[in-house]
């Protein structure tokens, strides 16, 4: 029995140590750190840009909900052209758009390009621009009533309709390229002359795809004026610097906490050190599983939560020491310690959680990550303190070879 417990402890510690070592140090570029590979770094750690745009009324274009939608389509297309992976583009309120792009070399240039007006062109085979977005009055996706196939219906303004009639008459059987900001969007072939200013583009895989093209065509035709309400760009150099320095600082802070715990609480302190490592892995797992983006504030939240997570262990160990002083046996002191500390740990953590949730709800975007990691941290620390630390101490006490009270008490 005793030997069995000891083997269990050894195996668990070995596994905990391996997983922790293999995933704790969150620096990219090391292939043997699987967990950290799956955690996206936010734009303040990789360099990037966060922009809040607001659609404003002008004489040419009103900031209608439709205009905002079209602007979003326009921005998406452009950002894709920058070759950015996983940009965030979301509408906020009625006429604001939030754009977040990480991992770009020159964030300021991206901002410049984003709010340039879109330029839509239609070019014949020889490359001549025959029509532009200014000639287009509308573009809508639809399902063809006869074939059930998705299509995009274009409506030209009177002048555009005249030109379009001429172009289609002269180029039957040849393609008419649609370009957005100089990039080929689609290359439909002219089937027959179209005199009435209405055109249909077919050949889409889904209605969604037709919608995307229609949105883009409309954006090209009618960009609404976008003002920058808020802009935060972080150069890649500063981002990399912040990440490296925070990780170093975190590692030193973490080490100091572990040393303190072992020096002060001895054997239980050592167990809590392993608990803390398990806690750290758990947090990284949750972040990776939810595909969360780790920002600088989030990283600070994580590091701070390490320090706060140890609190539950401290409360419990203080209780165990008290129970030992009253003369209880080791085993019952450990049990009573956990039991009697529970109410304090629970109440304290629920209050902390309330603050974290409110912070998450009200905080501006760049602080949300901090609130999230802090909140997840509180939940995870309750678990590691009540489950892992308890289990390990039980096994250790049960193993019988580390029963000297001097290992528990000063």
């Amino acid at each position: 029995m005793r030997l069995g417990n000891l083997i269990k402890v050894a195996v668990i510690l070995a596994v905990a140590a391996t997983i922790s070592l293999a995933s704790f140090y969150p620096v990219g570029g090391a292939p043997w750190l699987p967990l950290t590979q799956d955690i996206n770094l936010g734009l303040d750690l990789r360099g990037g840009v966060h922009v809040v745009l607001e659609a404003v009324d002008t004489e040419e274009a009103k900031a209608t909900p439709d205009a905002v939608q079209r602007s979003i389509g326009m921005l998406e297309e452009r950002i894709n052209q920058f070759g950015v992976t996983e940009p965030v583009i979301q509408q906020q309120g009625t006429n604001r758009i939030i754009v977040e792009i990480a991992g770009v070399d020159d964030p300021d240039a991206v901002v410049r390009d984003l709010i340039r007006p879109a330029y839509l062109e239609f070019r014949t085979e020889d490359g001549t621009t025959v029509l532009t977005g200014a000639d287009l009055s509308d573009a809508r996706e639809a399902l063809n009533p006869n074939t059930g196939q998705p299509e995009v219906n274009l409506t030209w303004n009177p002048e555009g309709a005249r030109t379009f009639a001429e172009v289609t008459a002269a180029h039957v059987g040849r393609p008419l390229g649609i370009y957005l900001d100089g990039n080929l969007l689609q290359d439909p072939v002219i089937q027959s002359p179209i005199p009435d200013g209405k055109a249909v583009i077919t050949g889409y895989a889904s209605l969604q795809e037709a919608n995307r093209i229609a949105v883009l065509l409309r954006s090209g035709a009618l960009p609404v004026k976008l003002d920058i309400m808020e802009k935060r760009t972080v150069g890649p150099q500063l981002g990399a610097d912040s990440l490296e320095r925070s990780v170093t600082a975190g590692a030193i802070g973490f080490g100091a906490i572990l040393l303190f715990m072992v020096a002060y609480y001895r054997l239980p302190g050592l167990v809590s050190a392993f608990s803390l490592a398990v806690y750290a892995v758990l947090i990284l797992l949750v972040l990776a599983a939810f595909n969360a983006t780790l920002t600088l504030a989030g990283l600070f939240g994580f590091l701070l939560s390490l320090a706060l997570a140890i609190d539950a262990n401290i409360i419990i160990f203080e209780r165990i020491k008290e129970e030992l002083r009253t003369g209880r046996s080791l085993r019952s002191a450990v049990d009573a310690g956990f039991q009697r500390a529970f109410a304090a740990v629970l109440d304290a953590n629920v209050a902390g959680l309330i603050a974290a949730v409110i912070l998450y709800v009200f905080a501006p975007v760049m602080i949300k990550g901090f609130a999230l990691t802090l909140g997840i941290g509180i939940l995870a620390s309750m678990f590691t303190a009540q489950a892992f630390t308890r289990w390990m101490l039980h096994l250790l006490v049960g193993s019988g070879i580390v029963n000297s009270p001097r290992l528990y008490l000063k």
């Binding site: 809040v52 964030p107 300021d108 901002v111 410049r112 709010i115 920058i228 309400m229 808020e230 802009k231 935060r232 760009t233 150069g235 500063l238 610097d241 912040s242 320095r245 925070s246 170093t248 600082a249 975190g250 030193i252 802070g253 100091a256 906490i257 303190f260 715990m261 002060y264 600088l296 504030a297 600070f300 590091l303 701070l304 390490l306 320090a307 706060l308 609190d311 401290i314 409360i315 203080e318 109410a343 109440d347 304290a348 953590n349 629920v350 209050a351 902390g352 309330i354 603050a355 974290a356 409110i358 912070l359 709800v361 009200f362 905080a363 501006p364 760049m366 602080i367 901090f370 609130a371």
Partner: protein, 293 residues
């Protein structure tokens, strides 16, 4: 053992001595608000060669921005804070710096419109109010209403100390500061609840002859090692982040450090003793502490 509760007047006095100057400064000078609240631009650039603040100011004068705050922020680095300017002006300013002074790298470039700043102030106030109300409600439910009141006074104490110190020393307040204040609230309430939990338990088991004053005092000492040790471990991490963690969130960490010290102090020396005073002086409600544990 030293009787903390019996000497509580001194602790109240010490807290007031720290809070009052800060409060005066807050009322007469206010806070040094960053662009998150006021609107404006903040650009940090690193030049390839050494550069003086005067050189930068001369270039900015060409754009009518000579009134801007210009300060060195590290090796060959300059931080420029302007009022609200357009994106075009912003870009033109950075371009001139590169053309007239020398090659540079933009480390960060932030611009906040005045509307966003106003919204942030509103949200910050809402967040503080919501936190305070939620926490009073939770403590009143789990403990008693007077403990909720005492905890709130301790929270206000910590908030005022952090705000006061930031006002006195003209430290810049940005949106991260709001997060720091809310984190301080969470931390401080954590510490207070651990103590209240012990008071709740000790009142239940105390002998009838033991004065409540002594029960509270005993509870404070029972939890003292925890109070000190938790603050110590949090401080280890904060100190490491403050000295090694890069410049961007320095004021955030500083606010947290003030909060951790103030939170530890207020939970031991203010919250517990104040609850005792509330119990003695406020007639309602009559039910004993810990009745709803």
């Amino acid at each position: 053992m030293f009787h903390i509760v019996r000497h509580r007047k001194y602790w109240y006095l010490i807290s007031l001595l720290i809070i009052v100057p800060g409060l005066v400064s807050l009322l007469f000078r206010g806070l040094n608000l960053g662009i998150d609240f006021t609107g404006g631009s903040m650009v940090e650039v690193r030049f390839q060669e050494e550069v003086s603040v005067e050189e930068v100011r001369t270039v900015l004068a060409g754009h009518g921005l000579e009134q801007s705050v210009i300060q060195p922020s590290g090796d060959r680095q300059v931080l420029i804070r302007t009022g609200v300017i357009s994106e075009t002006q912003n870009q033109a300013m950075v371009e001139s710096l590169g053309r007239e002074i020398g090659a540079l790298t933009v480390l960060r470039n932030e611009a906040v419109g005045p509307v966003i700043g106003k919204e942030l102030v509103q949200r910050a106030i809402w967040a503080l109010a919501a936190t305070v109300i939620a926490i009073v409600a939770y403590i009143s439910w789990r403990f008693d209403f007077k403990q909720g009141l005492a905890a709130i006074v301790a929270l206000l104490h910590d908030t005022l100390i952090a705000l006061g110190i930031f006002s006195l020393f003209r430290l810049q307040v940005d949106s991260a500061f709001v997060a720091a204040i809310l984190t301080i609230l969470g931390y401080s309430i954590n510490a207070t609840i651990v103590i209240f939990d012990r008071i709740r338990e000790n009142t239940k088991t105390a002998k009838k002859t033991e004065p409540l004053e002594d029960v509270v005092n005993r509870s404070l000492w029972d939890t003292m090692a925890r109070s000190i040790n938790t603050s110590t471990t949090v401080m280890f991490m904060l100190l490491a982040l403050f000295f090694l963690g890069g410049a961007t969130l320095k004021t955030f960490i500083l606010a947290l450090m003030i909060g951790v010290v103030s939170g530890a102090w207020s939970s031991v020396c203010i919250a517990g003793p104040l609850w005792l005073d509330l119990r003695k002086r406020l007639p309602w409600p009559k039910r004993p502490a810990g009745a709803r544990a």
